[in-house]
């Protein structure tokens, strides 16, 4: 009954799969919220707004998963069970890609990579799972992530890649301590 994706994550039943799916969305939401706070603290209000929007999408996805789970009790996942394929939660934006002067193009690139990783995560489960019910659920999640990838790609069309000098700050860093 257990499914292991190609990187060794073991999923034994539907409740666990749902728990992982929910965790992924919650992690994603948390990171976008952190990024929104960072942008607010660094006076990049355009990006603050964008990250808040991305965060609210993730919150929405999380709620969808809770709704679809119905009465199934989702187990609490301990750290030992959260060995993601990569270094971090698949859909979580990579915080070290952030920059205080980043543009919407950069943010959407981050989001695109995040959704792609999420897609690959569920693709991996689909590829390795035997149980039919689990496979179906995983396929649904995978397909949804594919839609999210498309959505982000469409958003990206609105934003041209910024010129090479986007991160040039005429002011030097502040001495703080």
């Amino acid at each position: 009954m257990t499914a292991e994706n190609k990187h060794g994550m073991a999923i034994s039943n539907l409740a666990e799969l749902l728990a992982y799916a929910l965790a992924i969305e919650l992690d994603a939401h948390e990171r976008y919220m952190m990024l929104a706070d960072q942008m607010e603290q660094h006076n990049n209000s355009e990006l603050c707004g964008l990250f808040l929007k991305l965060a609210s999408h993730e919150e929405h996805h999380a709620q969808e998963i809770r709704d679809r789970a119905g009465d199934i009790e989702l187990p609490h996942l301990k750290l030992s069970k959260l060995k993601w394929p990569g270094t971090d939660s698949p859909e979580a934006a990579e915080l070290d890609e952030a920059h205080y002067m980043m543009t919407s193009w950069h943010a959407l690139q981050m989001a695109l990579k995040a959704e792609q990783r999420a897609f690959e995560f569920f693709e991996g489960i689909v590829a390795n799972v035997d149980d039919e019910e689990l496979k179906r659920w995983a396929e649904e999640f995978r397909d949804e992530e594919a839609e999210h990838v498309e959505m982000v790609e469409q958003l990206l069309e609105r934003y041209p890649k910024p010129s090479g000098s986007w991160s040039e700050d005429p002011d030097p860093p502040n001495l703080q301590g």
Binding site: D96, A98, L175
Partner: protein, 277 residues
């Protein structure tokens, strides 16, 4: 509506309302996540955890956690934490800071904290630079790193914190990478649970003054040899350490510092007999 297994303290319960002022891209954001996940894994009550720090970017950590905190002076987090833990052994005491705070001005206290083996967990966010003061070499900086204070590089051999910790008697020695949020959290859980002085060096890139550290995520790798409880074996393993071995190096069995005080104290007037003629 689904039912999710409830735990009293989610990771978010350990984060305070204060928004960090670290540069976007700073590794310390990940460390904040790892610390809160570790505390959530252990389900420690937030009010029974204290985070003590010195001065520097990473020393700002206590205010961003929903625990008791002390933001002390430069280099003196370990003695602050020592006094607190000895006086209040009931608390979980974590110490946080950077490589400058911990290995330069704090160097002496680092040696003696390892030696004393008090039940503390010392988390050093190592970015090989003094960030808060705009980019000077620290004791872990590479000898050829150019800076205004040391043009052309210091030419000095960098400290190897794990070696020093092991040699000084720390009971738990590990290295983590900030980008691996959950893996770091796991190591922190082990460190906090292990009795005695636990030292975790977390490689945490500085996006502003060491942007080249972006490549650290490609350079880290699990240690080729697993952890050991034998200091000699740990010492030999560390001889081949390329500074990017991730994992627990040493988990020892030294007895932690005894913090117990007399549970049946005598009345103070018993002291008078020492002076009466």
């Amino acid at each position: 509506m689904n039912v999710q297994a409830e735990i009293p303290y989610k990771a978010s319960a350990y984060k305070s309302d204060l928004k960090p002022v670290w540069c976007p891209g700073c590794g310390d954001y990940h460390v904040l996540l790892s610390m809160s996940k570790a505390l959530a894994e252990l389900q420690r009550k937030p009010e029974e955890v204290a985070v003590v720090s010195g001065i520097g970017c990473s020393s700002r950590m206590p205010a961003y956690l929903n625990c008791y905190g002390f933001h002390g002076v430069h280099g003196r987090a370990l003695p602050l934490a020592t006094g607190l833990k000895v006086a209040r052994p009931d608390l979980t005491v974590l110490v946080a800071g950077g490589d400058g705070d911990g290995f330069s001005i704090g160097g002496n206290h680092f040696l003696h904290a390892c030696r004393r083996n008090i039940d503390l967990t010392y988390i050093v966010m190592d970015n090989r630079v003094y960030g808060m003061t705009k980019g000077q070499p620290s004791p872990t900086t590479e000898p050829d790193w150019d800076s205004a204070l040391s043009p052309g590089g210091t030419g000095l051999s960098p400290f190897h914190p794990l070696v020093i910790a092991l040699a000084s008697g720390a009971n738990f020695v590990a290295r983590a990478f900030s980008g691996e949020v959950n893996r770091t959290a796991e190591i922190l859980v082990e460190a906090i649970e292990h009795p005695g002085f636990s030292f975790v060096q977390i490689l945490s890139p500085c996006v502003t003054f060491r942007p080249e550290q972006r490549n650290w995520k490609d350079m880290i790798h699990p240690a080729p040899v697993g952890e050991t409880d034998d200091p000699g074996r740990a010492a030999r393993r560390i001889m081949t350490d390329d500074n990017f071995n991730i994992g627990i190096l040493y988990r020892g069995t030294r007895r932690p510092y005894d913090t117990k005080s007399n549970q049946n104290p005598k009345a103070l007037d018993q002291l008078d007999t020492g002076f009466a003629i």
